[in-house]
Symmetry: D2
Subunit: 145 residues, 4 copies
Amino acid sequence: MRQTARAMAPFVHTLRVRYHECDAQGIVFNAQYFAYFDIAMTELWRAAFERSYATMIADHGIDMVVAEATARFLGSARFDDLVDLEAQITRLGTTGITTRMRVLRAGELLVEGELRHVFVDATSWTSTPMPTAVRSALGRFAAPS
Amino acid sequence: MRQTARAMAPFVHTLRVRYHECDAQGIVFNAQYFAYFDIAMTELWRAAFERSYATMIADHGIDMVVAEATARFLGSARFDDLVDLEAQITRLGTTGITTRMRVLRAGELLVEGELRHVFVDATSWTSTPMPTAVRSALGRFAAPS
Amino acid sequence: MRQTARAMAPFVHTLRVRYHECDAQGIVFNAQYFAYFDIAMTELWRAAFERSYATMIADHGIDMVVAEATARFLGSARFDDLVDLEAQITRLGTTGITTRMRVLRAGELLVEGELRHVFVDATSWTSTPMPTAVRSALGRFAAPS
Amino acid sequence: MRQTARAMAPFVHTLRVRYHECDAQGIVFNAQYFAYFDIAMTELWRAAFERSYATMIADHGIDMVVAEATARFLGSARFDDLVDLEAQITRLGTTGITTRMRVLRAGELLVEGELRHVFVDATSWTSTPMPTAVRSALGRFAAPS
């Protein structure tokens, strides 16, 4: 019997909601979730490379810019909540990646979204293919197709 | 002679990019654009009602929450840039609205996105139809279908 | 034999600098350090009460507002730096507290500051003495006079 | 004929409080006032030079960093409030300036503070005297001693 495609666990980073991230409604301001997504990506990079994102830029001369971001808000995180940020790369392209983001509190899905990043040359800021080492490191957090 | 559908001008609010809204790349941080969208909505409400958003809540006992937000990043605004935030309501539903957002600098499109808002009862926070007065005021910034 | 004044260790909370907390100079934006101070206070409360700040408000019907904040900037934290936030209560008054804050990176002092908080009734927002239980819990992080 | 001390009007920049600048208490978060101070400085520079702060850096090869910031909180600005940011240079030194900041709403003083800036070489980031042209332009917003 052949092994079926194994659903890879997404990368998870947990953080605590800060007071000033909440608005006058007492809940996390919607734009703040996109900052959370960015934090999750930074930590995913650290885990993928066992080095930091800054190191990757220095080593490979490339940077990454956000081309598209989207989020659906299903529930609300509040001050002092511990939330899990789940990130899973759903498309590992030649010059870009797409990552599915989910924000959960104790298993309850609060927000789900998606980020599309494009690799650029760190000096010219023009689109550039991602280096093989980067692609292979990121593969660890890519969902099986 | 019949009057043809007139393309309504979107609502426009202009703001200047603040220093701390830019990140280490020297450009406006992606999550910040969603805060810009929120500012544009506040000003659209002020223009629609000739009164503030807070007044609307007090008068009608309803509030509005963001259900979905999306943005595509085509260019980058920088510190001290003057940017025009364009907002046009593309769907004026019974319990919610969808608004198309565009960020331009001197006519150049930098970001385009969409916000979907849902009306909720200000005390129970359950979905509620928007009052007729609200709907009719917002109609002024709705695109013709 | 008399007990000599024991130099109490300050409360320490460590955090990692987030990308969007840095400005176009590539360093943490000055106002952001005051948000760091606030985070340190939240964690100090959690440690003092072994419960959260929100619990304290619910239990005692009091809240705390910032009356004064100051910071001197000696160095610069950068993206991805791990910084230690040190908080030590230097004055435990009847209706308020003063806390000395320090931000360090690998032992290097980057920022030092001070926060003065005043206790207020959570409904009337008028100045109110801090409950005995609160004072005694905070005493753990107060510097010996 | 004696010259009488002329009380110079401080520089004033008016802004509207944004929704996400308020915290769960419904008032502007304390750290946000330091961001307001920064905005006031940017606008003071624009007024002083009739050119932008960025132009000054490009022309003179100097930058300015915050060495000290302080604020006393007397009242609270709320969402949608129009607040006046007053800035007056109280010390025009050789390598730095001190600016008194005040935040008012309809004449009511909400916050008062002070910023101390130091001029640095834009490449080496070492302290440097301010150019004569800069000093003379800033003089317009300096309080008489």
